[in-house]
Point group: C2
Chain length 108, copies 2
DNA sequence: GTATGTACTTTGTATTGCAAAGTTATTTTA
DNA sequence: TAAAATAACTTTGCAATACAAAGTACATAC
């Protein structure tokens, strides 16, 4: 017995999903930076609930990708790491959001 | 010089992102199964562009999670692996889509 | 002066994800 | 009809991740 050919709900095609942004912790970091313009390590640690080590390495990865600027300075005699999205990072997030949104909405 | 307190665009909070579905290859597989109801290995291989080995292991993972049913049979003397979402898988995808969508749209 | 806290970074490990190679059966070609 | 190619997978080996525990440096509290 032959099988009917696959009928037409068009297949969901592979999209470029930026792996740097797609990782849950980093998505959260980037999303926050997107709305908040500038923040610091401590704020992100609180809102993302990441451990110190984990947050630290994810920030490095985002920096290496050129998606964030990291400024380390001393404020009130204690270190403060300030973070903001670069233009590139902002764009990457928008692109990511667009492709994810379209992938998810392609599906009725 | 003191810094102004973080002003209010509310932070994007961590959401439960199902790691089984969040992986790009598997997201594509699940999205396809969601629209197509039933397919087979060969179809998925074509539309996802995954290598055989890669597709195979992702399917196993989805099966272990209880998100898909895998039926292996012989059709015209050659093996056919048929795939469909379970109720659980369907639900998991909907939940995933909801939380991702809300995370992404929380961001103006 | 030592213990506690803050703001991180480095290290060690277990888990992924991937493709190359392997398996089993079936056609095709010579 | 034996050898080669094709189909539909699965298993294996390895390189890249992600995570938390431990470590560092400095400051304040006791």
């Amino acid at each position: 017995m032959r099988r009917a050919k696959q009928t037409s709900p068009s297949p969901v095609e592979p999209a470029e999903i930026d792996p740097v942004i797609h990782q849950p912790a980093r998505l959260l970091i980037v999303a926050n930076l997107y709305v908040v313009e500038e923040t610091d390590f401590v704020f992100l640690k609180r809102t993302t609930q990441l451990t110190d080590g984990n947050l630290s390495t994810h920030l490095m990865k985002l920096e290496e990708a050129g998606y964030i600027d990291v400024v380390k300075e001393f404020v009130d005699r204690r270190p403060r790491t300030s973070l903001r999205l670069t233009a590139r990072g902002r764009e990457a997030f928008e692109t990511y959001r667009a492709s994810l949104t379209s992938l998810l909405s392609a599906v009725k």
